[in-house]
Symmetry: C2
Subunit: 203 residues, 2 copies
């Protein structure tokens, strides 16, 4: 147990904004930061590792986890379900590690309700034109799918006022640096560091 | 007028912690940040410039400024009085500039009451031993004065829970970097940047 509890960071963004790239780079630079691994009912894809990318579980096990209240948040789709196991999050925080959780906007609100101390970060693209360019650049989607994603992005972005911080992902280093500042500042909040400061001063 | 209002930062610390050195270095690195110049009734010391170090005013003018409510906070001592003129602070913030105000702990509470958006930063020495060493190193005070300052520091430090952030001044670059993180994070707070983000996205 650390004398300092870790902070849970929730990162959300409209699809195509590049949140996975930003968070991967952040974790590379800060290996002391934990990453929340989701449980999912979908099958592993090539190169995915159990316990690193996802916990791959059966539909039955997933339903059981819901029933036992083991998820901080979860989402069920027709194709597969995804959930954040609460135990791993709480263990990391209790050990004094900060943890990053990358989830959809609805999930973020659920996490904030259950863990009011969580810090919510919303990544926005530099512009909708750039977002469309990035989605198109993937070359994996039809015009219809791109149009649907853009419409979804415009709806999702209206939720940014429910977040604590907004970071523009114009370049990955810039977005990473902004999130580093947020994490550094959060650690300096009196409410979070006062006990360890007092300890250091012997009072 | 900027589309973003500046933020008022109040920095306090027990005497000897090195707050003036830290803030001077911060302003050198960030000349876009404004520094709040106090009004005082004391005489200028050698090298001090009117309007840069202080506004030097008469006791009569100071009393008039109090009566007219021109101070954000002020303190009267037997030797001299000091006050923060509100107009300069509000002008800088309205122009979108962040402003730093270095004041005593009682003054900080008064500022927070009048400007609840102000961000309060408390600088602490790495240890009381180090603080005493620094006070002694000045070579300007008697043992009695040093003992009195140490007693005052121990009392003042108990107010750190009234501040938003606590920064340890173990080295000046480290303390400056921590305050830079705080200022960067504050600018990313959704409440502060959402309008300009929306503007950038054309929504």
């Amino acid at each position: 147990m650390s004398d300092r509890k870790g902070t849970l960071y929730v990162v959300s963004a409209p699809s195509g904004t590049g949140k996975d790239t930003v968070v991967r780079e952040l974790l590379r630079l800060h290996p002391e930061t934990a990453f929340s691994v989701s449980a999912t009912t979908r099958a592993p894809r090539e190169g995915e590792t159990e316990g690193k990318d996802y916990y791959f579980v059966t539909r039955e096990r997933f339903a059981e986890m819901i029933e036992r209240g083991e998820f901080l948040e979860y989402a069920e789709y027709t194709t597969a379900s995804y959930g954040t196991p609460a135990a791993a999050v709480d263990a990391a925080l209790a050990a004094g590690r900060d943890m990053i959780l990358v989830i959809e906007i609805n999930g973020a609100n659920n996490v904030k309700r259950k863990r009011p101390d969580a810090v919510l970060v919303f990544l926005v693209p530099p512009s909708f034109e750039e977002l469309e360019r990035r989605l198109r650049g993937r070359g994996t989607e039809t015009e219809e799918q791109i149009a649907a994603r853009m419409e979804k992005a415009r709806a999702e972005i209206l939720h940014m006022d429910e977040y604590d911080y907004i970071v523009k992902n114009d370049t990955v280093p810039h977005a990473v640096s902004d999130i580093e500042s947020i994490m550094a500042a959060e650690r300096l909040k009196a409410a979070k560091c006062i006990e360890s400061v007092k300890g250091g001063l012997g009072i």
